[in-house]
Amino acid sequence: MKRNVLPGLPLSLGVTLFYVGLIVVLPLAALVFKAASLGPQDYWAIISSPRAVASYRVTALSALAATVFNLFFGLALAWVLTRYRFPGWRFVDALVDLPFALPTAVAGIALTALFANNGWFGSLLAPLGIKVAYTPIGIMIAMCFTSLPFIVRTVQPVLEDLDPALEEAAQSLGGSDWAIFRKVILPLLTPALLAGLSLSFARSLGEFGAIIFIAGNKPMETEITALLVFIRLEEYDYQAAAAIASVLLITAFAMLALTNLLQARALRYTIRN
């Protein structure tokens, strides 16, 4: 084996391990430790309480709806940004990152101002009988906003690198645009789309700041899991907070594993092609 001549391994690795240990691993371990100290029966009683289960349902369903919306909108946005040039496309392309750059609390109060009954959109929707703010639809819209860039930014590079020869071959064989998109382009985009979907869904499950302003936060109806953790803390019920937070943590790890798998596959797929 070649001897490594570069210096600095002990220092850089030492700093890295110290930082990761102190900042990332220690707190998460403390949380797991706290949740584990509950004992299986108490733990199960807390995480399966009706209010907790209702919060999982509203969080997961809203996240699912937001992710499906972003699947279509994000794909269309990525397509338009890579395939078409129109006045202001650069501006639109830059604005896609706004949900990442804008603090979630700011997004939350802005969306609430828009969709409240006296807001710009809310006042238009109210006569139609559609209520957005303080309902699960509001939660979904906040999630749509905060997770929008994920699908656009994972699909965009694949779309940019797509070989035009593939389309030309399909065109010369007489395929219609829609058939070529469905049978040639979409399969190539699928790995990136899946990776974007899982990132977007995971982000929506954990989102807090943007949602609590618009959600109404009614227990059993519009209370997301992250907020329930916060409420338990404010009630000084630390064990319940730890238990419910651990559910979010386990879900996050599961989503991380899934994303890892999908992205590794996406990468292998693009390298092979």
Partner: protein, 298 residues
């Protein structure tokens, strides 16, 4: 433009009808979902005129929140940058067992709800936590004080600089550094004169994104700060407080500062992308470097 276009064969979806429909739909939804919130912040902040806006910004509690946010960023971002550089140097310049695992651990904060992060810190430094009794005995305050806010911010932004640098330094290899050290340059000199010039834009890119997140972090900080007005309220927390106090104009005035920072961040990001930082082709970098390294080592 028209001429150049007509020379190329039409690609899928280039028919005018499809093109027009897709652009219209996308711009409409984009305007409703992304542009409208941006405009409403400005409209609400100035809804009672410039004077009320200025008074809201100049309120001592708001000024204190701005100060606290800036101080937090001034401490958390440099520490995070030092960590990112150290992590990238160790992971890309050396082979050691467990590199893949280390990469995954560094990325963890991205997947975790900020609320969970805040709660986790409570169980380390809070009264109920691991070090709670010890800290209490020596009267050291970490939670509900500046150190807690900084630590929580460092958690949520831990991957920002590292994940920009790692794929880049991985791609650049080790040859230049090895040449420099074999010619007798010290480790630090090699880093500052050889490595740093090659990674500076990517580093700045990571720093800018990290800074935006630190200044805007809400969930994790709201758990550990204790929301003490005029003491431990960062700008995002102050916005919440004003909003729930029905001081809508004040809340949106404070929000407009953070919005301005977000817009500056986006402009800087676009400028740095022109210099090759954060290139789109590396965008799925969240996990991509792991598998790349896995392929190289296997």
């Amino acid at each position: 433009m028209q001429q150049a276009k007509s020379k190329k064969p039409p690609r899928v979806g280039d028919s005018p009808a499809v093109r027009r429909t897709l652009i219209t739909v996308v711009l409409l939804f984009g305007a409703l979902l992304v542009l409208a919130p941006l405009i409403v912040i400005g409209a609400q902040a100035f809804s009672e005129g410039v004077k009320v806006f200025a008074a809201a910004i100049a309120h001592p509690d708001t000024l204190h929140a701005i100060l606290l946010t800036v101080v937090t960023a001034l401490i958390a971002v440099p520490l995070n940058t030092a960590f990112g550089v150290a992590a990238a140097w160790s992971i890309t310049k050396f082979d050691f067992p467990g590199r893949r695992f280390l990469l995954v651990v560094i990325e963890i904060p991205f997947s975790i709800s900020p609320i969970v992060a805040g709660v986790a810190y409570l169980f380390v430094y809070g009264l109920q936590g691991l070090f709670g009794p010890l800290l209490g005995a020596y009267d050291i305050k970490i939670l509900f004080a500046l150190p807690g806010i900084i630590l929580a911010s460092m958690f949520v932004t831990a991957p920002f600089v590292a994940r920009e640098l790692i794929p880049l330094m991985q791609a650049q290899g080790r040859d230049l550094e090895e040449a420099a050290t074999s010619l007798g340059a010290s480790g630090w000199r090699t880093f500052f004169s050889v490595t740093l010039p090659n990674i500076r834009w990517a580093m700045l890119y990571g720093i800018i994104l990290c800074n935006a997140r630190v200044m805007g972090e809400f969930g994790a900080v709201s758990v550990v700060s204790g929301n003490i007005r005029g003491q431990t309220n960062t700008l995002p927390l102050h916005i919440e407080l004003l909003y729930h106090d029905y001081q809508t104009t004040g809340a949106f005035a404070a929000a407009s500062i953070l919005t301005l920072i977000a817009l500056v961040t986006i402009v800087a990001k676009v400028a740095l992308e022109r210099r090759g930082a954060g290139r789109r082709s590396r965008r799925p970098a969240l996990v991509a470097p792991v598998s790349k390294i896995a392929e190289k080592t296997s």
